[in-house]
């Protein structure tokens, strides 16, 4: 369960203070798949990084599983991140010196010893993202789609409370993007994985239960699959 309360983030550029997030209130239920959309520069990535504890808010609260992220120090946030969160980046961010398996195992290694049980889980994950047989291949030798699969497996390896994804399909062609979104949906459905995904692509957003629209650092509109005008809205958007 994620709760965001009056979240503000300002950036100082020289003398100039720009408000990127101007007071966001948001609640995401366990098992929900949320897409965040909005124009470039509206603060989507900023919100996601705050949720991941990669950044600290200027004001406001972020609660994940009743823990206040904004009250933790840097080290606590890092440890929370590797235990409870998963992050998928637009440009994959794999470690080029490591193999597929090592990349996936990295958050577990960072957290301590790798148990047998966890190794088995890594294998299962490799299987479920469709990378069988590539365990020992160096990550930077894979195609973009394959790399993003590795990134997803890596993000899920710690059984995260929430999977955060910033434009995970942004660098992929349509067919690849569809496969990746298929994976998201699979984990969402099978494992009740909570997912928060930033995207520019309404097609991708269509996979989500709820779409949050950003504009100038505030939430402009929220549309849920349950809403009566959901289908109409999507159709409008695509047109």
């Amino acid at each position: 369960m994620i709760k965001v309360n009056n979240l503000k983030r300002d950036f100082l550029q020289g003398q100039q203070r720009t408000q990127v997030l101007k007071g966001i209130d948001l609640a995401i239920e366990e098992g929900e798949f949320v897409a965040i959309m909005g124009p470039s520069g509206s603060g989507k990535s900023t919100l996601l990084q705050l949720l991941a504890g990669l950044d600290v808010p200027t004001d406001g609260d972020i609660q994940i599983n009743n823990k206040f992220l904004n009250k933790m120090n840097e080290k606590e946030r890092t440890i929370f991140r590797r235990k409870k969160l998963g992050f998928v980046f637009q440009n994959y961010q794999l470690l080029s010196t490591l193999t597929v398996e090592e990349n996936i195992a990295f958050p577990l290694h960072a957290d301590g010893k790798l148990t047998n049980e966890k190794s088995k889980m890594i294998n299962a994950l490799i299987h479920s993202v469709g990378l069988e047989g590539l365990n020992h291949k160096r990550a930077n030798l894979l195609s973009g789609g394959q790399q993003q699969r590795v990134a997803i497996a890596r993000a899920l390896v710690n059984n995260p409370t929430v999977l955060l994804a910033d434009e995970p399909t942004g660098n992929l062609d349509r067919a690849m993007a569809e496969e990746i979104l298929g994976l998201f949906l699979k984990f969402h459905r099978q494992n009740k994985q909570t997912i928060v995904m930033v995207t520019h692509d309404i097609f991708a957003a269509g996979f989500a239960d709820r779409i949050i629209l950003f504009r100038d650092g505030v939430i402009d509109k929220v549309i849920s699959r349950k809403d009566s005008d959901y289908a109409k809205y999507l159709a409008n958007f695509m047109a």
Partner: protein
Amino acid sequence: MLSIWRISWRNITTNNKKRFFITLLAIILGTSFVTAMLVADKTTKDVFDYYEQMYVANADYWVLSDEHSYSEEMISSIQNDSAVTGTLLALDKQAFFELESDHSLNERSVRITGVNDQNSPLLKLPVIEGSLDNKGIVITEAVANLLGKKVGDTVRFTNMGEAKVSAIVEYTQLLASPSNWERAESTSFRILAPLDMLREWTGQYNEISYMRFQTKGDGEELFHSLQQSFLGSSVFIQPVVADDLQSNDIGGIYTFFYIIAGLSIFISGFIVFNMIYTSVIERKKEFAIMKSLGYTQSAVSKLVLIEMILLALIGTAIGVPLGIWFGDMFIQALLSVFEFDMVYTLNWELPTLVAIIIGFLYPIVFSLFPIYNAGKTSLLFTLKMANERDGSTRLHILRAVVGVGLLCFVFIDHPVTYAAVLASVILLFPLLLIGLSKIFTPILKSFFNYPGIMATKNLFQQINRNANTAAILAIGISVILLLGAVVESAPQGYEKEIRSTYGGDMRVTSELSWSAEDITKLLSYPAVTDVKPLAEAAPITWETVNEGKRQFSVISVSEDGPSLFADLQEKDLYKALTQKSTVLLGDRAFEEWGGNIGQSIRMNSPSGEQSFEVIGVVKTSHHSGYVAFMDATNLSNEFGWTNSFDLLLTVNSKAIDSTRDQLWSDFGNHLSKVQTVEDEVESTTSAISGMNELILVMLLIIIGLASIGTANTLLMNTYERKFEIGTMRALGFTKQQIRNMILAEGLLIGLSGVIGGIATGIVLIYVTSKSELMEGFISFQFPISNIILAMIAGVTLSLCAAWISSKTASKLDIQSSLKEG
């Protein structure tokens, strides 16, 4: 034009401040080291020249005899010769200080030189206090301090008389004296007195030991006519030659320190290379853009060249003055190690000029290849290349094969072996680094956990650069270990040489030649088992093949005489020497002479100018090899030196001290020196042992310099991996884990550098100990204390170096790293 300089300045200072400072530091250290050596070398040479010149003063010739003294009438014609502009008469006399404190005769022995004019231009005395009034004695400051005497105080001489101190002077060779009582046991004091006073004390009214004189022009004519007229007498004439090679071998020591200075230049040059090479690769994109904007290849190269020139200029501007200061400290250390009681003024002008040229040029020379490479940047350059792993597998195999091939030089006894071994170390280091990383993985894992494992993977990413960095550390350590082993085993080598060529246990020198009764008396000493005379003709002037004037002594040898040199064909040499006009040279004399065996050497003997065929070169401890040997019969008949003032005694080792005391009490009135093998060993080796500490300091400096290289490399690795480090942080590495990872990288580089260095050092020591060229001078050994110091310093300083990068890495901002990635 001004703008390109400004652009370059901005490039080196703003892009990467830490790297700029580290590289600059390396240049400064390298330059200052070389400057220090140049300044110290020149100053030391000047000091010795100065003292030598002071000793020679304005004298052109001197007339001496192969007896203790001769009648003044022999030279009265010279004093009246119109070609002679000045003369100085001197009489030497052995005496003893009469002291309140309790000291043996041996310690109190003093040679008094009586001169007819203390103010003579043929005698230069650097007065500190008092005046040269020809009424009292002149002593050096060291002697004044030891005796506790001031100007005006009275000094008494046993059974002779007493005199007031009229002047205290600085160190000068003529008055070279021990500065402590320990040294006084084996060396006499020397003081100056008015000739008349000494004659009165000794009753030798018409006698002199030698006369020096100055001539108008070169005086060649007078010299030859005097040489003729002295034939058949005990008196002979020699030109005065400034040559102190017999008394010191300080030049040899500088060879040693220049090796270390060269090493430091090499290391800092490598750091410069690494830095500029990486900077060029990082900026390939920028260069590609410049080229697309119309910059030519040479304009791009020029931009980088100017950056390098700026760095070299700053490095020289700081390094050279710093080096002059280091040089000053270095001379002080060196002179104190060798117990030279000398005053010096720093001669920095010429060395500074040379140092400025070297300091300016070497950073540029080392960066030429990267600069050329920068200009070659292709327009179609893609950023991806920078991330590719350097070196293909095939290249690695080639490197390994060539490396192993070069290592085979170990079995060849040739100086080139050293270069081959060092080159092979550089080539083989990637393999070593990979191997050691694998071996150390479990240890790193238990110390640093997963960051330790990441460290090994990271090292492989830039294996060539990291291996080169470690190799440089290894080479620094190995060379110093070798030099350390040389210094450490040198005393043993010298001791061996001294004991095998001293010719007895004790050498006894007298002012008068030894009579048969004296020898009988000596043989009656219960501890003395053998007495052998030794004739040493000195000073003998001679000519190098380039007609340079030199001076040494010629010592008599014979098959049944004492063994004064070491050679495998000793017997044959003795036999060959019995031929007329033949001579053997000690190794240093041979080197200075510059000729080949079979050629002739020209000498001014007591019987005039003569040529001798050099029939061999031998090792000897006498005057550290700056000496010649001649058959005893030839020395007296052909060469014209008939007397022997030295005896070599074989003495029961338990009775050395009592024998020495007895000698002084029995022969005190003409004995001038009693020296034992032990004294000679002690005085030769104590200075070298003192050098051990200098070596340790050098070891630390070299490891420190190499660690600057490690810091630089790790910093570059860190900046290059900025995005990966950001990713690791995003994936849950804490700052501490990032720091540990980089510390582990530093530790691996440091450890492999140290281990590789020690292994290489041992190989070099082994090669040297087996080398025929060194004639077994050094024995194979593990220089344990140096190895331990290298380990501690190498690992600690590498960790310090890594700490700098670990700080930088842990401070990297995750978000910006991610955004740009």
